[in-house]
């Protein structure tokens, strides 16, 4: 049995975490993700779990490090400036091979920017963010329902690959309310965590660390991580195709921008233009293959973002020069309109 509720994206992330067996949540207030921290404050302790309003984002992510090292499922959340602060911890979590879920409800930047929705943390999310040779899995929901589903998935992927997983939401998805079908989840598999810190009863001591002073020893970790990243690229690419088969023009957009693009596809089709959409759900690993496939038959792409052009680099890398890639983007917390997308499509149709 499942039940349907009307909730915000931020609340959906909290509910999903609790249902996925998140044992500890650590957060620090920042708009537009406060509903998530407040939901966890109201519900985690009641469920006999751990909630701490940390003194900073640095402390919150390092509390996650501790609880994850202790063997528990953990989550933290923040918005863009706060996620910048967490990057130190994310790098250490990646190096120590710990599972951890991080939700970024993106807002306008750089700096303090504003509290309106944005997608300008794409580079930070997909290129590592912190120091060192590591990657984070990045999941990008485009609806409140998908926030729920991807947060649950994030916990499973974090455990499976012992890696930090980032859920890249934005201020609009976080704050808008939509009906969500809450599925009945079976209790999360209690996987053995022989590496966890539990006190060394009956075994040799475990050490969770990231410092490896000998070059060859650190390189061994680097190579092990790379092998895991290749495995993730092999197994975990997720995307959605919409009206691609006959498309002359392919839009590429994720999250809130993808919602704009679905409307733009509908309007374009009404005008008789063959327009389709590829919506990456994982931003890393990136769905390069479907974009490459579409490049075989379409005339050009339009990348649509709430930034002035970040994901477009991955689109171009996937297209590999087979056809032009145009761009429509708004910044400062603005969301591109279907009309703006149609204008770019028209411009392409006239010039290409």
């Amino acid at each position: 049995m499942s039940n349907k509720v009307l909730i915000s994206g931020n609340e959906a992330a909290g509910r999903a975490a609790i249902q996925a067996g998140c044992k500890a949540y650590y957060g620090y207030p920042i708009t537009p993700q406060n509903e998530l921290t407040e939901f966890m404050a109201a519900n985690m302790r009641e469920e006999g779990r751990i909630f701490i309003q940390a003194e900073s984002e640095l402390a919150a992510i390092n509390m996650c490090f501790g609880s994850s090292a202790a063997g528990a499922r953990v989550m933290t959340s923040s918005s863009s400036p706060g996620i910048s602060l967490k990057q130190e911890g994310i790098s250490y979590i990646a190096a120590a091979e710990l599972p951890c879920v991080i939700v970024n409800v993106q807002r306008g930047g750089p700096g303090l920017g504003n509290i309106a929705p944005a997608q300008s943390d794409y580079w930070q999310a997909t290129r590592g963010g912190g120091h060192g040779d590591y990657r984070t899995l990045v999941l990008a929901p485009h609806s409140v329902q998908e926030v729920f589903e991807l947060v649950v998935l994030a916990f499973d992927l974090a455990d499976k690959y012992r890696t930090p997983v980032l859920v890249l939401s934005d201020g609009r998805i976080g704050q808008m309310m939509e009906p969500v079908v809450i599925p009945e989840l079976s209790a999360p598999q209690k996987d053995p965590r022989p590496w966890a810190l539990t006190g060394c009863k009956g075994r040799e001591p475990n050490v969770v660390k990231s410092m490896l002073l000998v070059e060859d020893v650190l390189e061994k970790l680097n190579l092990r991580l790379q092998t895991r990243y290749r495995e993730i690229e092999e197994n975990e690419v997720r995307y959605e195709e919409y009206n691609i088969e006959d498309a002359d023009v392919v839009l590429v957009a994720y999250g809130t921008s993808a919602r704009t693009c679905r409307q733009a596809v509908k309007l374009a089709r009404e005008r008789g233009w063959n327009v389709g959409l590829i919506r990456p759900i994982t931003l890393w690993p990136y769905p390069a293959e479907p974009i490459r496939r579409a490049a075989e038959h379409c005339k050009f792409f339009v990348c649509v973002e709430m930034s002035l052009g970040q994901m477009i680099e991955d689109v171009r890398l996937s297209v590999e020069g087979r056809c032009p890639v145009l761009f429509t983007g708004r910044a400062g917390g603005n969301v591109p309109s279907p009309g703006e997308v149609l204008a770019t499509i028209e411009e392409g149709m006239n010039s290409i």
Binding site: A54, G66, A69, V74, A96, P205, V208, K209
Partner: protein
């Protein structure tokens, strides 16, 4: 089982918690003493298999090479935050932070203040040697006025900051149950330090809350002194800025009421 070791015709017992790895610490360094005290206390309380320790960034980042217990290495200064995350998951385990003066009193001031303020049921061993050893002798937040370091080549001036008195500072908070400053400068002082560390662990096992033991500790290498003169420096100079004593003991407050 502790191990018997014969040195110069004298018999020492190596605590079970202490490994037999060769030390990387410099001659006359206080970390070895502090590690041994920790190991003895853990043995005495018979908690080796339920203790989880934090190694900080600093010379003692390699503490896990010497202590035969589960340990985590924290990012610089975040030690109490990581310890909080572990202790909250395993309230039945004994969790301690081992922190140097850079880790605790400079980059990690927010984390230690808030862990103490939440009254986290942790034991913190704070090693104050007034210098950054691992990075080779720079000024620490606890460097004495006039003391030379590689970043205060003419001696620390007031404008470089005053030595931070951590024990006093944290005693301004309501939540901590026990804060004492001890010294590793003589056998008598080391015995007092051992007693303080033991009390810090017992407090945690009794669920009392946050305990911190600040240990004045010698760094002959970066104080540019012989080990013997370094010990003298603690007694004659350091204790002027950092007086020894108990700054908070909720047990005593209860007794005097």
């Amino acid at each position: 089982m502790s191990t018997k070791i014969e040195v110069s015709g004298k018999t020492f017992l190596r605590p079970e918690t202490l490994s037999d790895n060769v030390t990387h610490y410099c001659a006359g360094c206080g970390h070895g003493i502090a590690h041994r005290l920790l190991a003895e206390v853990i043995d005495e309380l018979d908690i080796r298999e339920k203790t989880i320790g934090m190694a900080p960034v600093g010379c003692s980042v390699l503490a896990y090479n010497y202590l035969r217990i589960d340990m985590a290495e924290a990012a610089h200064g975040r030690t109490p935050a990581v310890a909080t995350g572990i202790k909250r998951i395993h309230p039945d385990k004994v969790v301690f932070c081992y922190q140097g003066d850079g880790d605790l009193a400079a980059i990690g001031t927010a984390e230690i203040i808030h862990a103490a303020n939440r009254g986290e049921n942790l034991t913190v061993i704070f090693i104050n040697n007034a210098v950054y050893g691992m990075t080779q002798g720079q000024m620490a937040p606890t460097t004495l006025i006039g003391m030379k370091s590689t970043t205060t080549p003419h001696g620390r001036a007031a404008g470089d900051g005053q030595p931070i008195r951590v024990a006093e500072l944290l005693s301004a908070l309501t939540a901590p149950v026990y804060i004492e400053r001890v010294s590793l400068s003589s056998p008598a002082n080391i015995r007092k330090a051992r007693k303080a560390i033991l009390k810090g662990f017992v407090n945690q096992m009794e669920g009392k809350g946050f305990s911190l033991i600040e240990c004045l500790s010698p760094c002959p290498t970066y104080w540019r002194r012989s080990p013997e003169k370094a010990l003298k420096f603690i007694d004659e100079e350091m204790t002027k800025a950092f007086p020894l004593g108990v700054f908070r003991d909720k047990d005593r407050e209860v007794e005097t009421k």
